[in-house]
């Protein structure tokens, strides 16, 4: 391959790799919104917590991030349910503002708590099972990034299968469709909401653990990813798992390709611009219903 094509392909690959991570993060965000019309503004901080959990598991007990994935996912599932029970449940009938601000407050709280306890220092998990990189035809692929992408794809797949092929999954979707009806069908919305939070944070937990294998860990790390996630969620249509997943990948590619072909510093403008463009033409997003 000529140098130019190699560069282009390399860029495309990098875009895809980061895109998958965006995708997984967005999936959790969209699930909560789909089921209960609430945007979790603390989503980035939950990602941050997941990364710290992974870090502590690694430093205190030498658990490799790869093995930590299920543990962290479990921990965050619990955290999700807890968050719902302690916080979200209280604002279900509150005005939208309160709903937005409750999770926003959570964000401020968690981020600064992390700063207070664990300081601003950057932490990184040194050697993991997935350290290193592959080279194919002059294209480089970081193993951790690759693993993360695969993990992201698998997790989303599993989630999708669960929603489509299990009773609970249906119940969840029914609740998303229409709470009254779901209620009449004898589904307890409360349980579904709690479940949604659990699953959402579990998936962000997976993302965090995988991300921790190659991304430095610090209190603001969530902010770096979450804005993109919002865009992905809206782009894919609030509540649509597939939508968020695809949108996440699209954004990854657009960002990296655009940055390479255009001015890198305008990457963000590109992403948000496209977002605005699409929602103005199609307010329900790419895959959004109604």
């Amino acid at each position: 391959m000529s140098v130019e094509t190699t560069l282009l392909v390399q860029t495309l690959v990098s875009g895809l790799l980061i895109g998958f991570v965006f995708a997984l993060i967005s999936v959790g965000l969209t699930l909560i919104f789909g089921v209960m019309d609430i945007v979790n503004f603390a989503h980035g901080e939950h990602l941050m917590l997941a990364m710290y959990f992974t870090y502590w598991l690694y430093t205190l007990w030498g658990v490799d991030p790869l093995y930590a994935v299920p543990v962290v996912a479990g921990l965050l599932f619990l955290l999700g349910v807890l968050t719902y029970r302690l916080v979200i449940r209280h604002v279900l009938d509150a005005p939208m503002l309160a709903q937005i601000f409750v999770t926003f407050g959570l964000m401020v709280f968690l981020r600064n708590l992390a700063q207070l306890l664990w300081s601003e220092d950057f932490r990184r998990i040194g050697d993991t099972l997935v350290t290193g990189r592959l080279e194919l035809f002059g294209i480089f692929i970081g193993t951790p990034q690759l693993v993360a992408s695969v993990g992201a794809a698998l997790t989303t797949g599993a989630l999708y299968w669960f929603l489509k092929n299990t009773r609970t999954g249906w119940a969840l979707e029914a609740t998303a469709e229409n709470k009254e009806v779901a209620g009449l069908m004898g589904i307890d919305p409360e349980r579904m909401f709690a479940l949604a939070w659990g699953l959402a944070l579990a998936s962000v937990g997976v993302a965090g653990a995988l991300l921790a294998t190659f991304n430095p860990i610090f209190p603001e790390v969530g902010a770096v990813f979450v804005l993109v996630a919002y865009v992905a969620v809206a782009l894919g249509g609030f509540g649509s798992v597939t939508g968020a997943f695809v949108a996440g990948i699209i954004i990854g590619v657009v960002q990296v390709m655009g940055g390479f072909l255009w001015e890198p510093r305008f990457k963000t403008i590109l992403v948000y611009g496209i977002y605005l463009g699409i929602v103005f033409i199609r307010p329900q997003g790419l895959f959004g219903r109604r």
Binding site: V3, T11, S14, F22, S119, G142, V256, G259, R265, K267
Partner: protein, 449 residues
């Protein structure tokens, strides 16, 4: 029911907080400012107004630093440094530093300096507010600070308005000394000089027979990075180097592969990079992942000299060149550095770094001026600052001394050094006569390390 759930919530949330607190204390890197800081601020709160009256045997100096928020860690270093300097001034120490051998300020009957701290959270507006407060409420005689160039800008603007001397030991944005301020003084050499150093260094490398004609410029595009890039471009032209690529990027990115791809596309070049720590680390990882190895990476300190940089990257951090203002290994040619660093380490548990060393020096310079002024009258202090002339052997910096330009009030004797990370340690490699280690050049290919 409601009541119960409320209670439950409060109890649990408290429990959670406590739990995490405990967990946090277990964490190695938990921040804990030195106790001395607490007494100080505790004393400061009530004191304030009456301090003005007893100003005779106590001179108040305000220090404005990012003590909380995202730069808290750095802020604490800086605070410790000015505290140490104050202590050296106030008590007798056998050190060859201004005012060390005497207790307090001899010209003012041994009056002692008391620091009053201000926290600006890296926010220019808050910086200005603190300057306002320290000057008017605490009645400080002068100010030091404030690390972030943007904050220094606004805080010194207040000082300029109020007519109070503002000594800036560690902000390097060129614009600061180009405002024609009467009350603003800067001891640290600034980016203009550092940028020029790069090309002087490259010329000397050329002289040694290495091929360096292309440079690529990569900078985060906030205040600081932009300034740096502008200067580097200027000097590249002046010194006749070809700028192969010029890439400003958005700080705190999640992914920088497109930037790195652009660099690769630019081909062989010496990379001049200006990044804060999160980006610096991400870039190094991406360089490795995409196998990008330029002729050399010369960084404009910041992220590349932050303690996390080496901690996080380990061996991957090696061979990075960075401009510095200070390095511990300078002690080999300047013993005073060791003496001071030992005191610092004993009190605060860490070694000094470029920031603390500069803050320390700045505080001494200010104290020296106040002493020579012989009063707390701002005008007198300002005049004394203008007269400042401290020889090289009385400072812990690798400078030729301290003397302020009558126009810009920029220290004209400052100079920078270039360090290289070798086995995880910062070694001075330039100027060659101060070097404590042999420079590794060019930057080794990733596959060969």
């Amino acid at each position: 029911m409601i009541r119960r759930s409320k209670l439950l919530f409060t109890v649990v949330s408290l429990a959670v907080v406590l739990a995490v607190m405990v967990a946090g204390c277990a964490a190695p890197a938990a921040p804990g400012p030195a106790p001395s800081a607490q007494e100080e601020t505790a004393a400061q709160a009530p004191a304030g107004s009456e301090a003005a009256s007893e100003a005779v045997n106590e001179i108040l100096v305000g220090a404005i630093y990012p003590l909380s928020g995202s730069l808290a860690a750095t802020g604490v270093d800086l605070k410790n440094a000015v505290e140490l300097a104050t202590d050296i001034v106030n008590n007798e120490y056998d050190l060859n530093l201004p005012l060390a051998k005497t207790a307090g300020l001899p010209n003012m009957g041994g009056a002692k300096i008391r620091l009053v701290l201000g926290d600006h959270e890296a926010d220019p507006e808050k910086g200005a507010a603190e300057a306002e407060r320290l000057i008017n409420n605490e009645k400080v005689a002068a100010l030091v600070g404030s690390y972030n160039s943007a904050v220094t800008a606004t805080a010194s603007q207040v000082a300029e308005r109020e007519g109070v001397p503002f000594l800036n030991p560690e902000s390097t944005s060129p614009t600061l000394t180009e405002r024609g301020f009467q009350w603003f003084f800067r001891t640290t050499p600034y980016d203009k000089l550092f940028a020029e150093n790069f090309f002087q260094f490259l010329d000397e490398m050329k002289a040694k027979g290495y091929d360096v004609s292309n440079v690529a410029i990569l900078n985060e595009n906030t205040l600081w990075g932009t300034d740096v890039a502008t200067l580097e471009n200027q000097y590249a032209e002046e010194y006749g180097y070809n700028v192969a690529a010029n890439i400003p990027y958005e700080a705190n990115a999640a992914d920088v592969s497109s930037e790195v791809q652009k660099l690769k596309a630019a081909g062989e070049a010496v990379l001049l990079q200006a990044s804060y720590v999160s980006d610096a680390i991400l870039y190094m990882q991406t360089y490795k992942q995409l196998d990008y190895a330029p002729t050399a990476i010369i960084a404009m300190d910041a992220g590349f000299v932050a303690s996390e940089f080496v901690e996080t990257l380990g061996d991957d951090a090696n061979y990075i060149l960075s401009r510095e203002v200070w390095a511990l290994d300078l002690a080999e040619s300047k013993p005073i550095i060791k003496a001071v660093n030992d005191m610092y380490k004993e009190r605060y548990g860490t070694n000094m770094n470029g920031n603390s060393a500069r803050a320390f020096t700045g505080m001494l310079v200010l104290a020296d001026a106040i002493n020579r002024a012989g009063s707390t009258d701002p005008a007198a202090i300002q005049a004394a600052l203008m007269e400042t002339d401290i020889p090289a052997d009385q400072i812990i910096m690798p400078w030729k001394g301290i003397r302020f330009d009558p126009e810009t009030h920029q220290n004209t004797l400052g100079s920078g050094i270039i360090v290289q990370i070798l086995d995880g340690e910062y070694k001075t490699v330039w100027p060659f006569d101060l070097a404590s280690a042999e420079i590794v050049w060019p930057f080794p290919k990733w596959s060969e390390r």
